[in-house]
């Protein structure tokens, strides 16, 4: 038994494993870089890095086969290899302190990336000049919102996330006097006037904008400059039978569709998932400066007012390139800007582990400097002795 254990330990603590894993990761990273031309950066992250295996379909079929270890596989093994080796061989000496510090930094860096992958949330916040918002929107996730707008003072909202929509089926919610039956769901589709679309794939629609429009399903896009806009066909069924069937699309030109039922007013909207904040931002001014006589952008900046309902915060902030706003565990970055149409898009990121790379950077810099300094010192001493 102990022989097996020894073989096991030897395997996970060997330098050979390190070198093999490093070589594999070079191949993976290189391959992923080339693949980015076609897949885009999101696609590459999903298919190469945030996965245990890189899958490829057998030509001519839809059957995926693992062809190469993915980021989680190689990164995980490297982490085990690193930690195991250090636990197994750990013995503090000054001569090795630099190396140990460097590897500690590396462990923190790898863990930081893992945590970031698990916990980081990205949202976008688009503000027209003068507009105030207290929510940001997901870049990619969408939701079906059923909004009860009966009361003039407040809205009651029930949301169904897109992963539930994708399963189709039925949703019953106590706040709603009807069932929601998802007849069809397309992760990416574009609206088109009925009759213009070559072959209509969607079930018949009786209510709202779907009477004049249909949608054309599109393949999922991974390009950074394009978004996947979902579409759904839902039927609402009350105790007395069907209220009708609606076509919903997350395309920005499709407005919420309202209807009356049981003396109450509702609106249906397929939209980017919203994330409400306990504070709001108002875009006061945006600037897009270029160098004189050129189109080269010199600066983008958004002047915003940050306010909280309790009145504790009420101040102006200037957000520009390389100068984000950090507030309430969130970071607001200048992301896009269209000065002609007067809007600015901020990227809103929550990343609880954002400090880890900074710590790791300091550790590794220190560790390598110590190690390098020791080698240099030894080398000089040796040459002195030789001379």
């Amino acid at each position: 038994m102990s022989e097996y254990r020894k073989a096991f330990v030897d395997f996970f603590t060997s330098l050979k494993l390190t070198v093999v894993l490093l070589a594999l990761s070079i191949v993976l990273v290189f391959w992923a870089t080339i693949a980015q031309v076609k897949l885009g950066v999101w696609g590459v992250q999903e298919q190469f890095f945030q996965t245990f295996f890189v899958l490829q379909k057998i030509p001519g079929t839809e059957i995926p086969v693992p062809v190469f270890p993915g980021g989680y596989f190689i990164g995980g093994l490297l982490l085990i290899n690193l930690i195991a080796t250090h636990i197994h061989h750990f013995k503090f000496t000054w001569g090795k302190s630099g190396i140990q510090l460097t590897h500690l930094g590396l462990i923190i860096l790898l863990l930081g990336e893992l945590f970031t992958g698990l916990w980081q949330e990205d949202y976008s916040l688009r503000l027209d000049e003068g507009q105030t918002k207290n929510y940001s929107e997901s870049f990619r996730d969408q939701e079906l919102a059923i909004i009860d707008t009966t009361s003039p003072d407040y809205d009651d909202v029930v949301v169904i996330p897109d992963n539930v929509l994708a399963k189709r089926g039925e949703v019953q919610h106590p706040a709603l006097p009807f069932r929601v039956v998802i007849r069809e769901f397309f992760p990416n589709a574009t609206p088109q006037t009925r009759g213009q679309a070559p072959n209509d794939v969607i079930p018949p629609v009786t209510m709202g904008f779907g009477k004049d429009f249909t949608v054309v399903p599109l393949p999922l896009t991974y390009r950074q400059d394009q978004a996947n806009l979902s579409a759904a066909v839902v039927e609402l069924i009350g105790p007395q039978g069907s209220l009708g069937t609606w076509l919903l699309s997350a395309h920005p030109f499709v407005r919420p569709q309202s209807f009356e039922y049981d003396g109450r007013t509702f609106a249906l909207s397929l939209r980017h998932t919203r994330n409400y904040k306990p504070f709001s931002l108002t875009l006061l001014e945006l600037r897009h400066d270029v160098y004189p006589g050129t189109e080269i952008p010199k600066n983008f900046s958004s002047r915003v007012r940050l306010t909280t309902p309790d009145g504790h915060e009420d101040r102006e902030v200037l957000i520009y390139m390389n100068n984000p706003l950090r507030y309430a565990g969130l970071t607001f970055y200048q992301y896009q800007m269209d000065s002609a149409n007067g809007y600015s898009v901020l990227q809103v990121v929550r990343n609880p582990s954002w400090l880890l790379p900074y710590i790791s950077c300091v550790l590794m810099m220190l560790g390598l400097s110590i190690q390098f300094g020791i080698s240099l010192f030894r080398f000089i001493a040796k040459r002195r002795a030789a001379a």
């Binding site: 330098l15 070079i26 160098y291 600066n299 990343n351 950077c361």
Partner: protein
């Protein structure tokens, strides 16, 4: 005697460097003074001399202009000719066209061109409409999808536009005497304005004066539309860090000659700057150098009152241009390389030290060149691909000088000569796309990060390349000569190891700092962007080298092969990732570079393969 030789070599080299700083007068016209006049182009104020040089590099890939079989002229003389006497400039072969199908559009063959590839505007002008049509067809495709023919067509279209722009920068090219034209414009102005007013109010007016004024207006409108080079300085000067005031008023802005002339309608008087250039054109056409020089002198004095700061920069920049420090260093690096190689065969001490001094001299000249660029730009040394080539070479040579002063075996000088020459050659080719002192895009506009992340990464490149080149020396010297003894081989191996340690430190720290910059400006530490991946691959490669050595997995020769492969890895990270044309770092798309990169990679693989010959077959006996 032999002891003196290194100093004689150094003195000769220094004399030559000094001679490049002096200027030789080649013309009766004060072209030097003309070349220093400031102009606003591509977002910055620069001397006309720079406009001339960067335009020529873009048009024809070299700065000299051949005007007939024997004679050639300086860039600034060419700019004066195109600006003041464009019909003559139309006969100079300044358009480089290589693609035979593009030549066919103009019914030309390589035999019609100077050196079979350069053609004059007159040779091209009949084919321009067809070229425009082809260019429009090509532009319907995205840049990456265009065929080599289509790319050549679009490039020639861009070049013709530049030529057209330069023609309309100073005067209207179709005017025999532009000064005279402006004076007529001035004299008709009161009468013409009165005629326009009268016509608007439905009163009787002079049709002749009205029509003349309108036709002047149309001419200057066309002129203004033809050139974006802003030659005319503002009336009022604001030396704040922002060139506009809060309302962005035009009176604080540099204008093109056409815009300045159109403003005559509101100001009532012709802009004196425009008149000065028209005066220069008059003197140039009339072949009166004294008059030309007098205007330069007076105009220069006048500018000096308000633009002393700008003139100081343009003055230094024009001198910097004519001294061509990077060309000088290229020659010196080449010499150092040859002398250092020779020292392995004969007089190791004398020639070795001569090579060292030459390397040091070249390094000083490069340093001065880089420092001047930094001062002109007000930025840390690396701001674009071009300056990264300068800096990577600079860093590697610095390391070589340190190595050479420790080991004194000429290996450092050979590597310095090779890398110094190579990187400056790369820089020269990168400079062909235009002005190399570009403005920084908003995303990259952070001197702090440019001074830390970018510099550290560039030093990482320098060190990885240096390790690779030292390994090349090991392999080639061992394979092809008998001069690699065991002691030298061990010394080389130690050098490579030391440099790889250094490279690991800088690439790793530089990459992590890059991540922190990305976290600061884009909200993510790591985004798998091609350039980030490239940097990561360098770090991983260096880590493999170190772990393989520590684990005893690979011996001396194997380590050398690993280090040579590091050259490919670094080349990919530095240039290859830009070729993909995607991602946040895809500045400086270098298409021609692709084949160079591939050939470089193939040559490195060939050397690694050659190194696999059994050690008995190596000419140096390492066993």
């Amino acid at each position: 005697m032999k002891k003196v030789i290194p100093f004689i070599v150094l003195a000769l080299g220094a004399l030559w460097v000094a001679s490049t700083l002096t200027t030789r007068k080649t013309s009766a016209y004060d072209l030097e003074g003309f070349g220093r006049l400031p102009v606003l182009a591509n977002g910055r104020i620069k001397p006309l001399d720079t406009v001339a040089r960067s335009s020529l590099l873009q048009l024809q890939g070299r700065q000299r202009v051949k005007i007939d079989e024997k004679n050639s002229i300086q860039p600034i003389e060419w700019l004066a000719t195109i600006g003041f006497d464009s019909a003559k400039a139309d006969t100079y072969p300044t358009f480089e066209i290589i693609h035979p199908d593009v030549l066919a559009l103009f019914k030309l063959t390589p035999d019609d061109g100077e050196k079979r590839k350069r053609f004059s505007f007159n040779q091209l002008k009949d084919g321009v409409p067809e070229l425009m049509r082809q260019s429009q067809l090509a532009q319907q495709l995205e840049a990456q999808q265009r065929s080599p023919f289509q790319r050549a067509v679009v490039q020639l279209h861009v070049n013709l536009n530049l030529y057209h722009e330069l023609k309309h920068t100073f005067v209207m090219p179709d005017s025999e005497d532009f000064l005279n034209e402006l004076l007529r414009f001035q004299s008709i102005l009161p009468e013409g304005v009165a005629a326009i007013r009268a016509r608007q109010q439905g009163e009787a007016y002079s049709e002749n004066a009205f029509n003349m004024l309108i036709s002047f207006g149309q001419r200057y409108d066309a002129m203004s539309a033809s050139s974006g080079i802003r030659l005319i300085p503002p009336y009022e000067v604001d030396h704040g860090d922002d060139s506009h005031d809060h309302d962005g008023h035009a009176h604080n802005e540099w204008r093109t000659t056409g815009q300045a002339l159109l403003e005559t309608f509101s100001s009532g008087g012709i802009d004196p700057n425009a008149l000065a250039y028209a005066g220069l054109a008059h003197a140039w056409r009339a072949q009166q150098p004294e008059q030309f020089n007098r205007i330069i002198e007076l105009y220069g004095d006048q500018l000096h009152q308000y633009f002393a700061k700008e003139l100081k920069k343009t003055d230094i920049e024009a001198r910097f241009n004519s001294a061509q420090p990077f060309y000088t260093s290229m020659v010196l690096y080449m010499l150092a390389f040859v002398v250092a190689i020779a020292s392995w065969l004969k007089w190791p001490d004398t020639l070795g030290r001569s090579a060292f001094w030459l390397t040091l001299l070249a390094f000083v000249v490069t340093t001065a060149g880089i420092a001047t660029r930094m001062w002109l730009e007000g930025r840390p040394p690396v701001t674009n691909l071009y300056s990264s080539a300068l800096f990577v070479g600079w860093g590697a040579v610095l390391l070589c000088i340190i190595l050479e002063s420790i080991f004194k075996n000429a290996v450092g000088s050979v590597a310095a000569g090779l890398i110094g020459f190579g990187t400056l050659l790369i820089a020269h080719h990168l400079s062909l796309s235009g002005d190399t002192l570009e403005m920084m895009r908003a995303v990259l506009d952070s001197n702090f990060w440019l001074a830390t992340h970018v510099i550290i990464i560039a030093i990482g490149y320098s060190a990885t390349f240096l390790a690779g080149f030292l390994a090349l020396i090991y392999i080639l010297r061992g394979l092809l000569t008998t001069s690699l003894d065991k002691a030298t081989a061990d010394a080389l191996s130690r050098m490579v190891y030391g440099i790889v340690c250094f490279a690991t430190l800088f690439s790793l720290v530089g990459t992590v700092l890059g991540g922190i910059w990305a976290d600061q400006s884009w909200g993510r530490f790591w985004g798998w962007d091609p350039k980030e991946n490239g940097a990561l691959i360098i770090v991983l490669w260096n880590a493999i080298f170190l772990h393989a050595r520590w684990g005893g997995l690979v011996r001396q020769r194997g380590l050398m092969c690993l280090a040579v492969f590091g050259n490919i890895v670094t080349g990919w990270s530095w240039f290859g990732t830009n070729l993909l044309g995607i991602g946040l770092h895809s500045y400086g798309f270098t298409e021609k570079g692709f084949w160079w990169l591939v050939s470089f990679a193939v040559s490195q693989v060939a050397i690694i393969a050659a190194a696999q010959l059994p050690l008995e077959r190596w000419r140096s006996k390492l066993r």
